[in-house]
Symmetry: C2
Subunit: 200 residues, 2 copies
C-alpha cells in the first residue's frame, strides 16, 4: 500500500458547502484575485472545475490569451474568494498558481490539460476559438459559426490554472465562526496543516 | 446654478443591474481585492453601502482593526468584482481607496463617517464592539450582551472605505458583450470617461 496523505482539514468544510449550495448554478463561481503587471490588484469571476485528482489543488479553465495569464507569469500568487450565498459561508483560499498551457514541457501536465479539455462541454470549448479576449471588438456582425471536432485535443488558447492552497480563511456567517488554516512544508513536500479559531 | 458633472457612463449599467437583482439579498455583496503586506493578493466579500452622494465613489463599512486597513494603508489600490447572479453581469471596478476613520483630520470626511454610522443598523453597529477580528478566539462562551446607544456617534473601530473608480470592466454573459471604461484626469479633477467595446 502507498502512503496515505491526510486530506486538508478545510477540504471537507468546502465539500459540505458545495453540496449544500449545489442547487444554485452560481455556487461554483469564484472570484480570483491576482496582481496586475502595474502592481495593482485584479479580480474576476471564474468557474471552479474541481480538485486535481485526490489533492486539495483547485482547477480553473481559462483562455491563455487573457490578461490573468500575463499577470500570473509575472506574479504567481492568487487568492480565491468563494462566497456561498445559501449557506452564508466564505472561503478565502490563498496560494500559488501553476499554468498548464500547450507549451508545458512536463508530459504529466500536458495530460492533465488534455483531461480538462475532454471533460469540458462542447459549448465551452467554442469560446477558445473566438477573438482574443480584451482586445477591441471591431466586428459589427455576430461571429461566424465555428465548430470544434469533439474528438480532437485542446486548442492552443486552452489553458488550465492549478491553484495550490497554502492558507485558507473560513467564515460562517450563520454561526459567526471563523477558522484559519495554514500549511507548513515547502512546495511538492507533503503539506501539514494547522488550524486556529479566530474572531470573526 | 453650479457646474453639472456628467455621470460616469458605467454607473447607469450598474444601477440597472442592482435593480434587476434587488430581490436577492446577496446582490449587494461584492469581492474586494487588495494587496497584502507580503505582496500577495488578498480577497474578501464586503457589502456595497451606496455611492457617496451623487458621485460614482463606492462606500464600504469595515472594522478599522481588520487586516484590509493595514493593507490599504500600505497600498491604496483595490479592485471590486461584482457578479450579479440573476442577470449574469459582472463589473470589475478598479480604483484607489480612501480610509475614513475617527482620526481623519478632514471635518467633511469625519461627517461622512458619522453619516454612514447613523445609516447602519443597530445590529451591524454591534459587531464593531466585538474582539479584534482575526485574532485567536480564546473564549469558550458566547460574547456577553453588549449594546450601543442608538443616539451616540461612531465607535472607534468603525471605518468607511471610499473607492474612487478609475477603470471599469463590464461583462454581460447573457448578451456576451463586454465594455471597458477608463477615466482620464488626475484625482480631485473632474473625471472624463472613455469607453470601448472589447472581445469577451
Amino acid at each position: 500500500m502507498g502512503a496515505v496523505t491526510a486530506p486538508a482539514p478545510w477540504k471537507q468544510l468546502l465539500l459540505n458547502a458545495m453540496e449544500s449550495n449545489a442547487h444554485l448554478r452560481h455556487s461554483s463561481y469564484i472570484q480570483l484575485a491576482t496582481i496586475a503587471c502595474n502592481g495593482r490588484p485584479s479580480n474576476r469571476t471564474v468557474v471552479f472545475r474541481g480538485f486535481q485528482e485526490d489533492s486539495d489543488k483547485i482547477q480553473i479553465n481559462t483562455d491563455g490569451r487573457s490578461r490573468k495569464i500575463e499577470e500570473l507569469k509575472h506574479c504567481p500568487f492568487a487568492e480565491i474568494c468563494w462566497y456561498f450565498t445559501d449557506s452564508w459561508e466564505q472561503f478565502r483560499i490563498n496560494g500559488t498558481v501553476d499554468i498548464l498551457d500547450g507549451s508545458n514541457p512536463d508530459p504529466i501536465k500536458l495530460q492533465q490539460r488534455e483531461k480538462s479539455w475532454a471533460s469540458s462541454s462542447l459549448k465551452s470549448r467554442l469560446q477558445y476559438l473566438g477573438p482574443q479576449p480584451g482586445l477591441p471588438n471591431l466586428s459589427e456582425e455576430p461571429p461566424k459559426d465555428v465548430s470544434v471536432d469533439p474528438s480532437t485535443g485542446p486548442v492552443g488558447a486552452f489553458c488550465v490554472l492549478v491553484l495550490d492552497p497554502q492558507q485558507v480563511d473560513y467564515l460562517n456567517l450563520k454561526s459567526n465562526q471563523r477558522l484559519t488554516f495554514a500549511s507548513t512544508g515547502s512546495p511538492n513536500e507533503e503539506k501539514c496543516w494547522t488550524s486556529e479559531r479566530v474572531n470573526p
